[in-house]
Subunit: 212 residues, 4 copies
Amino acid sequence: MVNQSATKEKIFQAALSLFNSKGYSGTSMREIAKAAGVNVSTIFYYYSDKGGLLEYCFVTYFEEYINILEKGMKQLESADPSTILKKIIHHLLDYQYQNYQLSRFVCREVSIDSQIVRETMTTYFRKERYLLQTIIEKGIEAGVFRKLSAGIVVIQLKGMLNQPFLNSIYTSEVWNIYFQDRYYIDQYKKQLEYWVDVFLSKKTSPVEKAIG
Amino acid sequence: MVNQSATKEKIFQAALSLFNSKGYSGTSMREIAKAAGVNVSTIFYYYSDKGGLLEYCFVTYFEEYINILEKGMKQLESADPSTILKKIIHHLLDYQYQNYQLSRFVCREVSIDSQIVRETMTTYFRKERYLLQTIIEKGIEAGVFRKLSAGIVVIQLKGMLNQPFLNSIYTSEVWNIYFQDRYYIDQYKKQLEYWVDVFLSKKTSPVEKAIG
Amino acid sequence: MVNQSATKEKIFQAALSLFNSKGYSGTSMREIAKAAGVNVSTIFYYYSDKGGLLEYCFVTYFEEYINILEKGMKQLESADPSTILKKIIHHLLDYQYQNYQLSRFVCREVSIDSQIVRETMTTYFRKERYLLQTIIEKGIEAGVFRKLSAGIVVIQLKGMLNQPFLNSIYTSEVWNIYFQDRYYIDQYKKQLEYWVDVFLSKKTSPVEKAIG
Amino acid sequence: MVNQSATKEKIFQAALSLFNSKGYSGTSMREIAKAAGVNVSTIFYYYSDKGGLLEYCFVTYFEEYINILEKGMKQLESADPSTILKKIIHHLLDYQYQNYQLSRFVCREVSIDSQIVRETMTTYFRKERYLLQTIIEKGIEAGVFRKLSAGIVVIQLKGMLNQPFLNSIYTSEVWNIYFQDRYYIDQYKKQLEYWVDVFLSKKTSPVEKAIG
DNA sequence: TATGAATGAGGTTTCATTCAT
DNA sequence: GATGAATGAAACCTCATTCAT
């Protein structure tokens, strides 16, 4: 997260912004350099490759992402599944909100099926799978969650978690909802926590009354 | 949907497949030509432009997509919101399942914020918004759906609808779930219909007992 | 030898001339394009690679080179070793003289120890080795040639054969000898044939009297 | 020959090795730095230029080369041409053998017709010409050598002298002869001395019986 | 309808080099 | 004596595209 060199960070930010609006392949190194106010060669000095820049984005994103998951992991024994899951949703949405550009880009580019994506991603996502699956299954065993397929539930959840960042043009242009704003993110967060309570959980929690 | 020329269709399919695995910008006309077994110039003959090829993909996708929505539209008066919504979910998932490659590509590329995307997409999505919003609000008015923000609900729903196609590498590599298979799509479909019943709707429907 | 396309040939000649004076690595594609009067892309269209251009040079050179050797091969049974060897020397020098630029370049670049050189070259030179070694050994067995190590003799011979083309700056600048001229090549040819007669062969032939 | 600084020498050796396998133009400063285990800037500190490094190679090579020739020069009056020539061949081959990499590189790069090569080389080679021509002509006058063109003879001789170093891949890969080994160099040396005796000289010397 | 030849613009990357430290 | 950060120029190569056929 913390960049040693100011120049390196400047390049990173410029790249992120451009990758977001034009896609990774659609962005040229020259454009990035220009946006960062450095010479093209400087990018190669720091990231060695265009691929290196991409990898750096992925690693930076997942490093913190996995951190959040691991904090959830530690509470697996002590707290109840519903609370943990809601906490994780809370932190993930917050993290993606605070790293809007990066999240948008990674969520999007991850859907490409290239070598580098496959390799980088799979490791992180296997960890994620382990955590989420465990939580869901514990909840089911404890009789708190409904008997649903853990896989399908997680895929559903992930779809919901990414959507605000993935399709931000859609949300803003069509719905006038701006997930760069705290307000909307918080609303969406509540909705997902609510989903845990009424969709996943067998009995509706007190939160339900507050919203629905 | 129906291509006049076999050659044109061949090119379309080849392009689709490549766009999916390398992205639109990451795919070159030569690659498409090679994959389609035709000369590069032939692509220009049929689609005039690389942009033309992209547009053709979008139009082809949304043509049928909007068809499905419009069928739902016609039932707005006669049928109840919950049933209509479930029908739409059913048809959309089916459509995307049957046009796997195309859906994957469009869902993904739509997240880029370029001129062409913005223009093509917005028209279709505004229609979609009108329909879905109307259904949700009618349901709320009728006291069938919970009092939720229509916008947030639709965004949530769209996230869930796209996820299986967008992140197919994720689902297959990490969860061994293959949405190219009828079986998994049907399971997922049930889950979303269930979501309509227990999350959106105030009272849990009989379906709930069957699953949860 | 015969180029299908006039453009391709033009590029080839321009490349050859530049490779000779600046070396392969020292010559840029742009320079070649400019010298050939075509666009840079055209070179890539025909040769696909800078490496492809290099390979084309090698193959073109060795194709005819090996032809000459194979003609010598066929006479192995019928003619005497001394005559065959002199014929080969005669034809090789003629060939190199007629393809001055190409020979100069290949002889020089062959001394680099890269992958492509190793691969292309070895095949041809093994054939050459077989022929020359056979001739020398036959001559020794027949008691016509002195008992010398065939390997050392061939290396010595090859050094002499290449020298005029390899170091043409040296010969012209220091000795005012121009091997682009028939006259000098013929003189040099005589010298090497003479070498066969008095150095390789046991008894000095009548030719000796004519020269020495 | 004697490098003041160990670092400077390290760089020199690394450069030599790389120049040999990839050519001068084909080798980058970074590669040299990496091979030498120093920073790129260090090379510039010691040699100021890439050209400076090249010049240093040439000068280092020719300094000793010309020394050997000058020693021969001094004996022009006292000793007989045949003996002097053989001594020179002996010392030159020894020198090139002991500075294998350097000789290989210089012999090869000298064949390029660039400004720097022309300038550096010509001075040294004119000296060489004077010595060798004088020896040959003296021999002819004295009736010891055959009446041959001095120029052609020297060119022939130089071809033979360089071949083992120039085409070392050829000799090793095709003939399994390794001129890095004393044994093979000595054999080759004998062959060339023999060449002086039977080809250049009118009457065969006693050495002939020993070999042929 | 379909192609091969050719191109200009721009892509990524590497190069030798400098400068402050 | 030696280095790391940074650069401008130019390297190789690919791109979408056109045009004559």
